[in-house]
Amino acid sequence: MWRDAVLVGGKDLRVELRSRVATMQVAPYAILVLLLFGFAFDQNHALLTQGAAGLFWVAVLLCSLLAVQRSFSIESVDGTRDGLRLSGLDPAGIFLGKAGAVAAQLVALEVLLGFGVVVLFGADLRDPGLLVLTAAVATVGLAAAGTVYGMMAAGLRVRETLMPLLILPVVAPVLLGATQAWMAALGQSSADGWKWMGLLASFAAIYVTIGILGFSTLVEEA
């Protein structure tokens, strides 16, 4: 399973590196989203600083949609999805590989967006341990849930419009938990950030389990 995961994940990342879609389109899009938030709250910089955690995670969520759509659109041309089905690779490995590749892209985008909220919104990063751990666990949850629902919609003609409808409500707990944990880490909330980390870890564990157990059916049927 792990060998197959490394194969599929490596393939997806190589495709992204060679096509440069992630670097030339998704990364600029992420920064653009931050700039638009800045334009919207231009008159009130304190509000931008206060809302930096939430705005950061909304931007990550929007980027994760692009990453997941991209991850499955590269399988929709030239019958590559059928090739993946017939390859004999372990479906759980395919899931872990695709989710891992999405997670790797999201981590890179989060680093970029992190610099963005510090520079553009004046956020003050105080508890790096909680920030980094929250980001890591939330990213695993986003990538796993995105890959499960992305696979459900992958073969459909309406996948571009259906995917956000399927994914956004489901990953809303990640937005809530990660924002609360980051607000605690940025000193903007008295809530216990580690409790929200627990929610994020449970979410990630549930979706990784669902992906490992259910991906064979989804690869076959979707």
């Binding site: 459900m152 259910g214 064979s216």
Partner: protein, 286 residues
């Protein structure tokens, strides 16, 4: 096709029969009794005044919505389990999710009206409210997914997985008032010392019966529509060809004219069956 208890669809064009008529009249009587107790007999609340009468709609609608989504998950599980796999479970999952969405909308609308009266706002980002809104969004996604997948078998399998996962939100939503600090009040009935008594209690219990009957009535009809839609999907093409051939009459039917099936030199093509073919059950192995 097999049957699922009393939910078996009639072969005729409609979805009603004696059972649904009895169920429908029982629903009307129960709704009328609830309205009478709720609006006439039960007294206004000391604190909330007449606003408390929403207690005869909102909790019952919320419970019915949970039942709908829970039933969707159970039917989806039964479809996923190879030994119990049957189109009936897929049809039941689709019907219960749709009826559940209707009751979820009623829950949110009545809750919002209640919130405006008691909290002063139409909406607040409380855990119970937020989770209920998410539940609605997730099941709207479920219905959209079902509409988007054309292949019947893929639709049944993929939406079954989605239905089971989506229903995980139901217990979280129900327990939200216990797990988090919320504005929404906790359980009124399901506790050692229920918070309401007398006619209020009678009215609330009646409302649960009325909404339960309404849910069952809607579910039976919706389920039968689903069965008919599936039949149309499976048999519609063959039936349409048979009807066109019957309209054309024997002179231009199959096997007549140059190049027609059966003519010299033409490939032999079997005629479409005039009688609708039975729907095959899905294979138990994916």
């Amino acid at each position: 096709m097999g049957s699922t208890g009393g939910l078996r669809a009639r072969p005729g064009p409609g979805t009603g029969d004696r059972v649904t008529r009895i169920l429908g009249w029982s629903t009307l009587v129960a709704v009328a009794a609830t309205a009478w107790v709720g609006l006439v007999v039960s007294p206004p609340d000391v604190v909330q005044g007449d606003l408390v009468r929403l207690i005869y709609v909102h909790p019952a609608a919320a419970t019915t919505c949970y039942v709908g989504f829970g039933l969707c998950a159970l039917a989806s599980l039964a479809y996923l389990w190879p030994r119990t796999r049957s189109w009936r479970w897929d049809q039941l999952a689709a019907a219960s999710a749709e009826v559940g969405v209707v009751f979820c909308v009623i829950t949110i609308v009545t809750g919002s009206i209640w919130g405006r009266g008691s909290w002063g706002v139409w909406w607040t980002w409380d855990a119970r409210l937020t989770l209920t809104a998410l539940l609605l969004a997730v099941f709207i996604g479920y219905l959209a997914l079902r509409r988007a997948i054309a292949d019947r078998r893929s639709r049944a399998m993929v939406s079954a997985i989605f239905g089971v996962v989506a229903a995980l939100l139901v217990p979280v939503d129900h327990e939200a008032t216990n797990w988090w600090q919320t504005l929404h009040q906790g359980n009124t009935l399901l506790r050692s010392n229920p918070l309401i008594h007398g006619w209020q209690l009678v009215g609330m219990l009646l409302s649960f019966a009325a909404f339960g009957l309404l849910f069952s009535w809607l579910l039976v009809h919706r389920f039968r529509v689903e069965v008919l839609e599936d039949r149309y999907e499976v048999e519609g093409f063959a039936t349409a060809i048979a009807e066109r051939r019957a309209e054309a009459g024997p002179a231009v039917g199959p096997g007549v004219g140059p190049g027609a099936p059966g003519a010299p030199g033409a490939p032999s093509v079997p005629a479409a069956p005039a009688v609708p073919v039975p729907t095959p059950e899905p294979a138990s192995q994916s």
